[in-house]
Structures are given as structure tokens and as C-alpha cells.
């Protein structure tokens, strides 16, 4: 149970949240036409006769879009309806050429499912919550109006018209901004794993309608509002917070919450009314007579299931049990499918190059990817897709560190130099091999202690934090090549 409460003037309130997420299906062509779907094309360059609703044009379902929605349903453990049907949602708007959107009201493709979310991503072993999914259906996206092209007219770009969307409808199971955020993030994670949606919220590939109501804890649901087209996890959380606050204020000042559609203004961090129930459309849904019911056979469903990748929860569990990673690292490495992909590629390569098992090198690879490499990339001022940031280069670094050939700090230094200058990585590693020659280390330590007799005295007088100074000086004198453990050992013996 969530303990999130809104403190009102008259007591505590609980917030109830449901999300309707629109996710653009990853496919080369639109839901009912052969037109392309690439983001950012010139206006009206990806429009077929069907998308422009020319007279006599007919929709033909794109099998790939259906397949992706089915795979998504399977990934959230949902019931797949082998018989579903398309309905027309009728309304007039300039971005809707047909005068109706083809959607699925009465018989959606995917029925009930659920996903489990970790409430605090920093504490993956902490509490989890299961959020119900009511249904997933497929539908057409609309075009886009452009109001800044002409002084008195609006222009229409139909590139998005007819693009396939999945509408993923949750149960009203969330009780705090954090839960809503965690749900959306988890959903995005799953979609990206499945490959059914790229999850690019800033490009509009994924957006959420946020349903919010408040009630006294334990009482029946209150009246909800729906805030449309919220396009980031952070904004969803902000909407829940501000809208719940607004509703509590309305109720406590003697008013009633009106069922309505609202818009979020991120600049002011508030929602405002878009249209109320009174002027809501009557969409006159009815089965689309241009399309036959969608009937899926077992072979198709089997293919969908077989094509599913390892999903995030399973992967996280495997990283902990089979690879022995910490819960935190396992969670961090599986948070995004791209990171997991990088990790697994480097893991396989490093295990092969070092002749060890994946489990033996997993911790080193995980630490390198999560703690060390990001700092190096940052210092070098490059992004992770830098052409020199290859699996081979990372493997060389990780294997050299894992075997004790070079120190961890030397590894970072070398990798940064490799990224920013023209050096031979293998030669550089060879040149920086750390030494375990006790004689050389003892000689270096003795020289440092002799040169810093005053500090030695201070240390012996109780200033023990000077130990780090002696380590640093010794390492510096050895150009970073001294085996740190041995340096420590010798120093401790000499200063004892």
C-alpha cells in the first residue's frame, strides 16, 4: 500500500491514477496503408491515397502492426483475443481526413494483463507493486495541424495520419506520483525490449493520458479528470501531483470536481481545462464495414511468442542469480534494452578473451560499464556511441584490469587517452603494465619516506590519514605502474 497522502485543510486524501498510454508501433508502414512512417520527414511526403482519405480508398490491415501489438500483449502477460474487430470513431477535425479514426472499442486485440514495478529504482530490493492492464488495442494516429505557416490559415501535415498506435489502458491501480512514474517507465522498458515501440517520448512515439481522482482513504473513487498527451515520466508525475492538489483544493473549498479533459502546461506546472463532459463528442462508434473481423490462428500466435526476447524481469533475475551481480547493478544494467545489449556483448567478448566464464568476469564488466566507463566518456567529452567506443576496445581494457595487468585508475586513464588521441591501445596497456616486483616497490617507498621525513613523523604522531599521501606519492613515482595492493602492504610494513 502506498502511503502517499495529500495533506488537505480537512485531513488526508488519497490519489487514484490510471494511465492510457499511446505507443507508436514500430513498423515500416502505416496501420492500413503502405505509406512510410519515418519521423521528421518533410510535411505530406509520407501520405498514401488511403491516408488522405481520397474517394473510394480502402484500408487493409498491416500484419506487422498487429504482430507487434500481439507481442506487446504477450510481454505483459495479457490475454490475446483471437477474434477482434475494428470500429470507427466518428468526429470531424482537419487532421482526421476520413472523418473517423479506425480504432477498437468493442472487441480489442489484447485483453487483461499486468506488470510489476519497483517503486524506488535506487532500491531494487525494496517494495514492488503489480499494476493491472485492462486492454491494449490498435488504432490510427491523426495528422498534425501547423498554425504558424500562414497569417489566417492552418496547414495540415498528414505524415502521421494512419500511423499505427497501441493504446495501453491500465487499471486505476496507482496511488502516488512515484507509482505512476514507475509504471510508465516500466512500460516503456518493456516496449523497448519487445521492439514494438521505440519509446521516444520527446518525438511523440509514446504519450500518456493521465486519469486522476482523489478520495478519502478507503472511500469509493471520486470524479476523475483526464490530462491528455503528457510526454515524459517526469511530467506524468508532475501532473498527478498538481492535479491531485487542485482537486483537493476544489473539494475543500466546497466545490466539486468536474469530469473533463485537461491539458498540462509544463511551464506553469499546472493543468487547465480543455473541454468538459457537456461538450464531449458523441463518437458514434460502429464496426468498420470496410474491414473483416481480425482472426488470429495458433501458428501466428506461436510465432509471436517465439519471437519475444528475454524480458527485463527475467533478465534482471538471471543477472543476479547466474552472474552473481548485485540487485542494484542487475537493475541498472537491465533498465534499458540498449544498456543490457551492450553489457551482454561486452560480457561475452571479455569472457572469451580472458578464457574465463561469464560469471567470473561479470562483476568487472558491470563495474566498468556502470561506474568507470561513464566517467571516462564524460571526461573525454564523447557519447557512448562514439565510433572508437567499440566492444573490442572495452574488452581489452576490461580483460587487462581483470587480470591485474593494469590498475583500475590506469585503465581509465588509458581509455580516455585512446578515445581522445591516436594511440595504440594494446601497446599502451603493455607499456603501463603494473609491476609486482617487491624490490622495485620497496625502493620507491623507501625513497618517498626518506624525502618526507617530517610527514612520517606526523603520521607516527597519530595523523593516520597521511597514509593516502604516501600511497599517492609512491604511485606517482612509479608512474602508476605499482601494484596498489603491494604498495599498500610495503607502506604499512615500513610505517609500522
Amino acid at each position: 500500500m502506498s502511503n502517499y497522502r495529500i495533506q488537505g485543510a480537512t485531513g488526508e486524501w488519497e490519489v487514484v491514477i490510471g494511465l492510457e498510454v499511446h505507443a507508436q508501433v514500430t513498423s515500416n508502414s502505416k496501420l492500413f496503408s503502405g505509406a512510410a512512417t519515418a519521423f521528421g520527414a518533410e510535411p505530406n511526403t509520407q501520405v498514401s491515397l488511403v491516408d488522405a482519405a481520397m474517394p473510394g480508398m480502402l484500408p487493409v490491415p498491416n500484419r506487422e502492426c498487429i504482430r507487434q501489438a500481439v507481442r506487446t500483449g504477450m510481454a505483459v502477460g495479457a490475454v490475446i483475443n483471437k477474434w477482434s474487430r475494428f470500429d470507427r470513431k466518428n468526429y470531424f477535425y482537419a487532421d482526421l481526413p476520413q472523418g473517423y479514426q479506425i480504432s477498437q472499442l468493442y472487441h480489442p486485440l489484447v485483453g487483461e494483463g499486468e506488470i510489476e514495478v519497483i517503486l524506488d529504482p535506487k532500491d531494487p530490493e525494496g517494495s514492488t507493486k503489480t499494476i493491472g492492464i485492462e486492454r491494449i488495442h490498435v488504432e490510427q494516429d491523426a495528422g498534425k495541424l501547423m498554425h504558424d505557416q500562414h497569417p489566417t490559415m492552418s496547414y495540415v501535415d498528414l505524415n502521421r495520419s494512419g500511423v499505427a498506435l497501441m493504446e495501453i489502458v491500465s487499471r486505476p491501480d496507482m496511488r502516488s506520483p512515484a507509482e505512476a512514474g514507475a509504471y510508465l517507465a516500466k512500460l516503456r522498458q518493456i516496449l523497448r525490449y519487445v521492439g514494438s515501440c521505440d519509446g521516444n517520448m520527446d518525438q511523440g512515439s509514446m504519450r500518456a493520458d493521465v486519469n486522476v481522482s482523489v478520495r478519502r482513504p478507503g472511500e469509493p473513487f471520486g470524479t476523475r479528470t483526464e490530462t491528455k498527451n503528457v510526454n515524459s515520466v517526469r511530467f506524468v508525475m508532475a501532473v498527478v501531483e498538481s492535479e491531485a492538489r487542485r482537486q483537493v483544493d476544489v473539494i475543500e473549498s466546497g466545490g466539486t470536481v468536474v469530469q473533463e479533459t485537461r491539458l498540462y502546461d509544463p511551464d506553469k506546472n499546472e493543468t487547465r481545462s480543455m473541454r468538459s463532459k457537456e461538450d464531449a463528442h458523441d463518437y458514434r462508434y460502429f464496426p468498420d464495414p470496410d474491414l473483416l473481423p481480425l482472426e488470429l490462428d495458433d501458428a501466428f500466435l506461436e510465432e509471436c511468442r517465439a519471437s519475444l526476447p528475454e524480458l527485463p524481469d527475467a533478465k534482471r533475475h538471471r543477472y543476479e542469480t547466474a552472474l552473481g551481480l548485485s540487485a542494484y547493478n542487475a537493475n541498472a544494467l537491465t533498465a534499458d534494452v540498449e544498456v543490457a545489449r551492450q553489457f551482454e556483448a561486452l560480457l561475452a567478448s571479455a569472457a572469451g578473451a580472458s578464457g574465463k566464464s561469464e560469471a567470473d568476469v561479470a562483476k568487472r564488466v558491470a563495474n566498468w560499464l556502470l561506474s568507470e566507463q561513464p566517467g571516462v566518456l564524460n571526461a573525454a567529452g564523447v557519447s557512448s556511441d562514439h565510433p572508437k567506443n567499440t566492444v573490442e576496445a572495452n574488452t581489452a581494457i576490461v580483460v587487462a584490469t581483470e587480470s591485474g595487468l593494469i590498475s583500475g585508475s590506469k585503465a581509465k586513464e588509458i581509455f580516455e587517452a585512446y578515445l581522445t588521441t591516436e594511440i595504440d591501445l594494446a601497446a599502451e596497456i603493455e607499456a603501463n603494465k603494473q609491476t609486482s616486483d617487491t624490490g622495485a616497490i620497496e625502493a620507491a617507498v623507501d625513497a618517498i619516506l626518506a624525502a618526507n621525513a617530517d610527514k612520517v613523523a606526523e603520521y607516527k604522531g597519530g595523523k593516520e590519514n597521511l597514509f593516502g599521501f604516501f600511497v599517492g606519492q609512491t604511485m606517482k613515482a612509479m608512474q602508476g605502474k605499482g601494484n596498489p595492493q603491494l604498495v599498500n602492504q610495503v607502506l604499512k610494513a615500513r610505517l609500522a
Partner: protein
């Protein structure tokens, strides 16, 4: 030399193939008739004589080169102006599409051109195919070439919605024409003008590129002088089209080769419920003659029951307008066709002004009906109920076809009526489709063939309804009637 415009599809195809005459001679003869009749009959919205000649030249060139001429080689036809034709204005007889010239060709018309046919022009029709008399066209009424034998000159309806098609074929402006049938729009005009027409099984002809009226009912089909010509042309029009999700993925039978007027071993069902109180005596008599002809052809006559017949028309006038109200939403003034943008108007004002100016009264009536029956609170009472009736009607036919192979009935309750006689009373106009609509709701193949003249000298049609996909059975029963009816009447040329 023979008057080439007296020839039908088969005769033209065979004559061109044999070299009795050239395709260009045929095209020019029909082009001349089209031009001469336009003022009086108004059958065409746009004539395209140059396209007819161009196609004919191609056919003649193929013949000269010894190449095959195609099923419709050398045959010029009229194209109902509901089919999109690339580069030629396509209006659905509405103001809202006036001047609209598609960049694409409908599947059915393309198949006809591929089969060697040429286009004489785009034929007039009821606006958006909504009507039974061709009086709802924005481009004026089509006048039937037929007149009553009472000596009066009353202008008669050619039927609808394919009224331009029926008039063109009956008046020898074209040997054949395309029609579309949603609730009788091929069969009723064929009956009114003494020609043949078949609506195939729903899904036989692709709907791609045909301006939609009611998607679950619309079917294209041929209208021609006789059954053989219909069979030839239907072969050219039919076939699976991946661009239409409701298209039947079945091979196209060789209907012409399968023609036979021998009905031995066949059972013909006579639906009890079609014999209505106060039925027109001439229509009843022609039905009885049809029964005798089919007996004579060897068929066994059985009485059948289609108990839900009386609910067909009300169900049709819910389903068809419901679909139309949605199908016609795309005519909004935004992308093509008419745009009426009053000064200072916003988007909603533009919609209202455009649609008010662009749609005729009957189209508006059906959009209103359709919008109403789909509205929240009325949907279940009307639309859902009508769909249930539709299912029951399909079951009626399914049951009936366990007892018979085809069903025989009149095509329409009366012969052609006068223009203006029913325009003030939409319900009496709708009643004209009472015998045609049940087969449409069930998606069954059905055809009308001429069966004689009534006491006023006007043609009457008989309708044959068949099992799904059994166009052959329908055509053969039609041929059995045609060969016995010996219908040779044609309108006196007064235009």
C-alpha cells in the same frame, strides 16, 4: 451495313475479332449516339469520345498484330460516375465532388480497360448512389428512353441509382455499362428499362476506387442487353483484389462458357412473403409467366418462406445510412472537391457551409438518419437491432437454399414511374427496393432480366437470387427466362 449500335458485347467482340468491322467504327457509332442523345436523355455527366476511340485503335492495332484482344476487346462501355477514373472527372453526381479528377483508376474500371474495353463517358446516377429514380443527381435527371403507350409524353424514371447506365444501354448509347448495387441499384433500373443486370456475390468485384455509399452492401456489376453480355462483362470485372479487405479470394469462373438454359434437375424457390397484398396485377402476372418458363426449362418449382422479409427494408434504411453518414464524412472541404469558406469562417463553419452547399437533399436526409441511428442512446435500438435482422435474413436465405437452387421474384413492385411522382414521398420511393434489398443484405448474387411489357407498354423485370458464389446458377436461370421471354421490345427513338 448493320447498325453497329444495335449490337451487344458478344456480337461486337466477335465481329471485331473476325474483322466484320473495326473497333474504331464501333466506338464512333456509339460516340455519335451519345452525342445525339445527351440533351434529351442526360445519361452522361461527361462524355469521353476520344478515350473510346483511343481504346478502339489499340484493339484494332492488336488485331492487326495478331495479338489476343481480351474478353471485352473492341467493346466501348459507359462507366457509372461512381468509379474513379484517372484523369477524368469523378463526381458521384454530387456538387461536392464537382471538378474532382482522380490520380488513380478504380480496380474494376482498370480490369475492363485491361480486357480491351474503352470508355464512352461517365454516366449519370443518383447522388452518391442514393436514390431509385436518378432524380437526386446534381447534374440533372436522367430521362428514360421509354414512354408509356398511352400516347402521352410523360418523362419516366430510368430507375436508380444506376439510371444513366440503364438509359444508355436501353437507348443504344452503349452496348453495356457498369453499375453498382447497394440495395437494388443495378437490378431496379435494369428492370425499368428492359435490360439485364447482375449484382454478383458481395466481394466478387473490388470496391477499391468506387466512391463508397454503404461499404458492407456496395457491389459493382454489369448492365447489358442480355445475359450472355452480362456474363462476359462480369468475368472482366470480377477478381480478388488485395487492396480491398472484403474482396473474395476465389478464382473467377468462366461464366460465359458455363451458360446453359437447361434447368433440368434444378429447383426454383418462390418466396411466399413476396406475394404482397395489393400487388400490381401486371407484375404478378409476369412473375407467374416466369414460373411457367422455368418449368418449361425443366425446373421444379417449390414454394419457400423468407419469414423476415418485411423487416428487410427498415433494416436496410438503418444500416445503409449509418455507413453512409460515416463514409461521407471525408467530404469536408479540406483536401479536395468543393470548399465553401465564408469570410472569417473557422473550421466548423467551413464544414457546415461546404457540406450544406455540396450535398443534395436526399444525401443530407440519409446522413441525418445515419447519424441519428448511431448516436449514443439510440445505437442499440436501431443499429444493433438492424444488424440482428440482417443476420436473420441471411438465415432465411440459407434455410431456403436447402430446398432450392435459385429464387425467382419480381425485381420491383411496379414498372417505371414518372419523374416527380415520388420525389415528395421518400418512403414510397424507398418501397421500390422492397424486393431487391433482402439479397443485398445477405450479400447474394442477384440479377434482373426483362420479362415482357406491362399494359402501358413498359418493361417489367424478373429477379433471380442465387446462393453465395453461384453467379452461374443465377445467369443460367436468367438465360432460361430470356430464351423463353423472347423480349425484343425497345423504346421508340424520340430523342
Amino acid at each position: 451495313m448493320t447498325d453497329l449500335t444495335e449490337l451487344g458485347v458478344a456480337a461486337i467482340r466477335d465481329g471485331v475479332a473476325k474483322g466484320d468491322f473495326t473497333a474504331v467504327e464501333v466506338a464512333e457509332a456509339f460516340n455519335a449516339n451519345v452525342a445525339a442523345a445527351q440533351t434529351a436523355l442526360n445519361a452522361f455527366i461527361v462524355a469521353t469520345p476520344e478515350l473510346a476511340v483511343e481504346a478502339a485503335r489499340a484493339t484494332d492495332a492488336r488485331r492487326a498484330a495478331g495479338q489476343p484482344l481480351g474478353k471485352m476487346g473492341g467493346v466501348p462501355i459507359g462507366m457509372k460516375d461512381l468509379f474513379a477514373t484517372k484523369g477524368v472527372q469523378t463526381t458521384a453526381a454530387s456538387h461536392i465532388l464537382e471538378g474532382f479528377t482522380p490520380e488513380y483508376e478504380s480496380t474494376v474500371s482498370q480490369k475492363l480497360w485491361d480486357a480491351g474495353a474503352g470508355m464512352l463517358g461517365k454516366l449519370n446516377l443518383d447522388q452518391f448512389a442514393m436514390g431509385s429514380s436518378n432524380e437526386t443527381s446534381y447534374f440533372g435527371n436522367v430521362i428514360s428512353p421509354w414512354r408509356r403507350s398511352d400516347g402521352g409524353n410523360a418523362a419516366l424514371a430510368p430507375g436508380g441509382s444506376s439510371g444513366g447506365s440503364s438509359t444508355a444501354v436501353a437507348a443504344r448509347l452503349a452496348p453495356a455499362a457498369t453499375g453498382t448495387d447497394t440495395g437494388g441499384s443495378i437490378r431496379q433500373p435494369a428492370a425499368f428499362t428492359g435490360i439485364s443486370g447482375i449484382k454478383p456475390t458481395y466481394g466478387r468485384c473490388s470496391r477499391w476506387g468506387i466512391v463508397a455509399f454503404a461499404s458492407s452492401l456496395d457491389q459493382a456489376g454489369p448492365m447489358a442487353r442480355d445475359v450472355r453480355d452480362c456474363a462476359i462483362m462480369l468475368e472482366a470485372m470480377a477478381g480478388y483484389d488485395p487492396k480491398d479487405a472484403t474482396s473474395l479470394n476465389l478464382p473467377v469462373p468462366e461464366w460465359e462458357a458455363g451458360l446453359s438454359a437447361d434447368m433440368k434437375g434444378k429447383k426454383v424457390g418462390i418466396p411466399r412473403e413476396y406475394r404482397m397484398d395489393g400487388m400490381d396485377a401486371d407484375v404478378a402476372a409476369s412473375w407467374d409467366r416466369g414460373i411457367e418458363w422455368l418449368k418449361d426449362a425443366g425446373a421444379e418449382i417449390v414454394e419457400i418462406s423468407l419469414p423476415h422479409t418485411k423487416y428487410a427494408l427498415p433494416a436496410y434504411y438503418i444500416i445503409a445510412p449509418a455507413e453512409a453518414s460515416s463514409n461521407l464524412a471525408r467530404y469536408d472541404g479540406v483536401r479536395y472537391g468543393l470548399r465553401d469558406l465564408p469570410d472569417g469562417a473557422g473550421l466548423q463553419d467551413m464544414y457546415a457551409a461546404t457540406r450544406a452547399a455540396g450535398f443534395g437533399a436526399e444525401v443530407k436526409r440519409r446522413i441525418l438518419i445515419g447519424t441519428y441511428v448511431l448516436s449514443a442512446g439510440f445505437y442499440d435500438a436501431y443499429y444493433t437491432q438492424a444488424q440482428k435482422v440482417r443476420t436473420l435474413i441471411s438465415h432465411d436465405f440459407k434455410n431456403a437454399f436447402t430446398q432450392c437452387d435459385v429464387i425467382l421474384a419480381p425485381t420491383a413492385p411496379t414498372a417505371a414511374f414518372g419523374l416527380g411522382e415520388k420525389t415528395d414521398d421518400p418512403l414510397s420511393m424507398y418501397l421500390n427496393d422492397v424486393f431487391a434489398v433482402p439479397a443485398s443484405l445477405a450479400g447474394l448474387p442477384a440479377m434482373s432480366v426483362p420479362a415482357g411489357l406491362n399494359r402501358e407498354g413498359l418493361p417489367l423485370g424478373l429477379q433471380i437470387v442465387g446462393k453465395p458464389f453461384d453467379e452461374q446458377g443465377v445467369l443460367n436461370a436468367g438465360l432460361a427466362i430470356e430464351s423463353r421471354a423472347q423480349f425484343s421490345a425497345k423504346p421508340d427513338k424520340w430523342w
